[in-house]
Assembly symmetry: C2
Homo-oligomer: 232 residues x 2
Amino acid sequence: MRTHERVLAQIETGLTAGKWPIGERLPAERALAEELGVSRPSVREAIRILEAMGIVRTAVGSGPSAGATVIDRPAAGLGAAVRLHVASGTLPVSDVVRTRVLLETGAVRDAAERTSDDAALDRVREHVEAMADPDLDVAAFLEHDQDFHIELARLSGNQLVEAILSGMRAAVASYVTAGAEAVEEWPRTAARLCAEHRAIVDAVARHDGAGAARLVREHIEGFYRETGLGER
Amino acid sequence: MRTHERVLAQIETGLTAGKWPIGERLPAERALAEELGVSRPSVREAIRILEAMGIVRTAVGSGPSAGATVIDRPAAGLGAAVRLHVASGTLPVSDVVRTRVLLETGAVRDAAERTSDDAALDRVREHVEAMADPDLDVAAFLEHDQDFHIELARLSGNQLVEAILSGMRAAVASYVTAGAEAVEEWPRTAARLCAEHRAIVDAVARHDGAGAARLVREHIEGFYRETGLGER
DNA sequence: TGTACTTCTGTGGTCTGTCCACAGTGGGCT
DNA sequence: AGCCCACTGTGGACAGACCACAGAAGTACA
C-alpha cells in the first residue's frame, strides 16, 4: 500500500470515528506528516483526494478558516466523477435520461410524502416564476431549469440522490441545450415546460407523491421525445 | 487557480480531445512537468486526483504497463466518493438504501422489458446458486450477494446506473455486513434472501418488469428493516 | 484610553534536488 | 543459443527551503 493511501485510510478512520466533525479542521499538514511518520507531500496527496471528493476544503492563511476544514459537499466529488466520465465517456444520452427519470421520480415521491418545508418549496417556485419571463433568453431559461430540477430533488432530503443529480448536471445541460435548439417553436415549448413545472410543484405541495412522480416522468421523457434526441 | 488544478484542467482538455484514448499512457510525470512548466509534485497531485476518480491507473517500473494509463472505471471514483461521505457521516445509510431501491427497481424493470440475454441471465443465476450453499461463510455469501445485485443491474444495459451502483458497492457492503451480524437466525435469513433472489431472476426471465421491481424493493427494504439499521 | 499601524506566526502552495524500488530491455558472458 | 546482469526509465517518497496569505498580537501614536 502506498504512503498516501495509508494516510488516506488513517484520516478516513478518524472521520468514521467522529474525530473531526463537520466544520472542524484537520491537523496541519506538517503536524499530520510528523504524527503519521510520513513526508508532507504524501499527506498533501491524501488531502488532495479528500478535497476532490468534497470531504474537505483547504484555505491558506491563519485563523479558524485556514487549513483543511471538513465540509459537507457530497455533490462535489460525485459531480466531478460523473462529469469526467459522462462528458468524455461513451455513455449514451438515453442512459442519462433514464437515470434522471429514476432518481427524480423517486425524489419527488419522497418530497411529497415528507412534511413540506415551505421555505424550500418557495425556492423551487422562484425558479418556476423566473422561467415564466418571456424575455428570458434560452441559456438563462435552461439555467433556471437545471436549478429547478436540483432544488426539486433537494426537497426529498436524500443527499445522495441530490449529489448524483448535481453531478449529472453538466451532462444533462449539454443534451438539453442541444434539444432546445432542435425544437421548432421554442416559445410554445418553453411555456409548456413552465406549466409542467408548476403542476409538479403543486402536486408536491398537496402531498400527491404518485402524481408528482408521473408528471416528472412525463416532463423529462416528453421533452426528450419531442427533441428527437432519442433517434440519433 | 492553483497549479495542480491547472494541470488537471490541461489533462482533462487533452482527454476530451482524444489525445490519450483509453489504454494509452499519459506522458511521464517529469516530462509533463517540464511541458507544462510546473514542478513534479504539482503534476503528481493532479494525477492523484485522476487516479482517485478512476480515470487513470499508475504503475511503477518500465515497459508498456508502467506509467499513468488511461482507463475507464467510473465505479472507482463514484465508489470512493460515496464511501468517504458515508465515512464522514454526511451520507446517512438510509439515503444509500433509498437510492439503491430507486436505481435497482428501475434497472430490473428495464432488464425485464429488454430482449433477454440468456448468457447474462445465467451469470446472475450462478451467483444465486452459489449462495445456496449452506457451508458458505457470511463474508463469501455477502460477496456473492453484491455481485448478484451488480450483475442484475447490468442486465438493464444502462451503464450509468451500473456505474453508480458499482460505486455504491463498498458503502452497501459495509451496512449489509453490519446488518447480517445483527440478524438473530442467520441461516434462516440467508435462505430467505436466496429465495427472494430466485424469484427476482424468474420475474425478469418471464419479462415481468413490474413484478421484478416490486420484489427487488421488498428484498432491499425488507432486509434493511429486519436488521433494524434504520432505527439507529 | 482607544485606535491604527506594524510585526509575528501559522497555514497551505510550490519548487528543487535527491534517493529508492521496480520492471522491462538489451548487451555480454557462458 | 540461452542465461544472467547491468542499464534505463518509471513512479514513490523524502527533506528542506521559500513564498503568499490572513489572522493575531504587539506597539506606537493621538
